[in-house]
């Protein structure tokens, strides 16, 4: 058995969480609340040191850039709802972040996703092996038929209906694959925790 305090803490917390499989109980609730407390504390520290300090407070305090008072005041307006008379001021940080975020969304989605994904769909249909040709054709038809399924301006009848049906089939395979992938990811986490208990804590294997 391990003699490290950290390993014991982690092992007992792991067992406390797994106790939920039997039923909701005080051990699970303690572990759950510890998790929320520790996670919230962790993110407060990380966001302060990685975002707020280097982007706002460090330039103001260390370099004396007074202009950084503006975003700090805007950020502090997040707490405006605590004073009912000026609670509407929360809209200023909300709209500022929404404005910049939406602009970045437009630019990033077009540049980083739509164009590269479009480019990746223009696949060669000659000079490739027969198997690769089938795969390339399937990708092209798969993308088109999925898009047709989401085209609601015309009734899904005739050729459009056939394409839409094909799109459903492609999506069903994708959902099934994603489901299987997610299940296996969780299973590997479970194996990791069981291995930790048996290897690091109990040192049986």
């Amino acid at each position: 058995m391990s003699t490290e305090i950290g390993v014991w803490i982690a092992a007992l917390l792991t067992l406390a969480i797994y106790s939920f499989l039997y039923k909701d109980n005080p051990f699970y609730k303690v572990a759950e609340n510890i998790f929320v407390g520790v996670s919230a504390g962790y993110w407060a520290v990380i966001l302060w040191f990685n975002y707020a300090w280097p982007n706002l407070f460090e330039p103001l305090i260390m370099r004396g850039s007074v202009i950084y008072l503006i975003p700090i005041i805007v950020g502090l307006m997040m707490f405006a709802p605590l004073i009912p008379r000026v609670s509407w001021l929360i809209r200023i940080p909300l709209t500022f972040t929404m404005g910049v975020a939406m602009a970045l969304v437009i630019l990033q989605r077009i540049q980083g996703e739509i164009f590269p994904q479009l480019q990746a769909t223009f696949l060669p249909l000659s000079g490739v092996s027969p198997m690769q040709l089938i795969s390339n054709l399937l990708i092209i038809f798969g993308v088109l038929s999925t898009l047709v399924y989401f085209y609601f301006s015309k009734a899904h009848r005739g050729v459009l209906g056939v394409f839409a049906k094909l799109g459903i089939w492609f999506m069903m395979v994708a959902f099934g694959a994603s489901f299987g992938y997610t299940v296996m990811a969780r299973i590997s986490l479970l194996i990791g925790r069981v291995y930790f208990l048996l290897h690091n804590w109990l040192q049986l294997i």
């Binding site: 982007n55 929404m98 299987g180």
Partner: protein, 207 residues
Amino acid sequence: MKQTIPLIIVFTFGFFVIIAFFIPLRVFQDASQTFETWYTGVIAFFVFIGIFNIIKVNVNKIQRKLSDWQYSIILLFFLAFMMGAGFIGGPEGGVFDYLFEHMQIPLGATMFSLLAFFVASAAFRAFRARTPEATLLLIAAVIVMIGRVPIGYYIWKGFPNLVEWIMSVPNTAAKRGILFGADLGLISMALRVLLGIERSYMGGGRE
């Protein structure tokens, strides 16, 4: 004023960042970069207000002695302890790292691994090959699950390659189609926000 000023802010900052992207002048680039830096700093306050709310809700629960109020003490203690460790000792090394490694990582991994049981039981109840579409979903899921474990290879050597093909061909094709739709939807929603057509994120009330 309570509506107009926020709408002017969202329009001005949003379109400025977009326009600056297409104008390679240093003054535009610098201003756009500054706004993005401010934005990165300001979003930290969203988490701070979230933590403030956690504290407020739990203190209220303790004061009123609502059900399970004792657990709120534990939550607040560990929140304070983690924050104290990080702000006093710094985010790298020391107690903060120790707590992260021996509490947060195992708790997070165990919580997510717990889902394996629930997902499996939900799948057992939901997976019924009633229609051709449902059958396709079922077959794809089973192949991916079997193909990603060593026993799949022992059953049939082609399983790992089949999984690889499913993930990179039909899965990619459908996901790409969905992604195009989602991205176009997101862009149109972003334009609605910037133009002030979509205002629900500002909260209720016309004032």
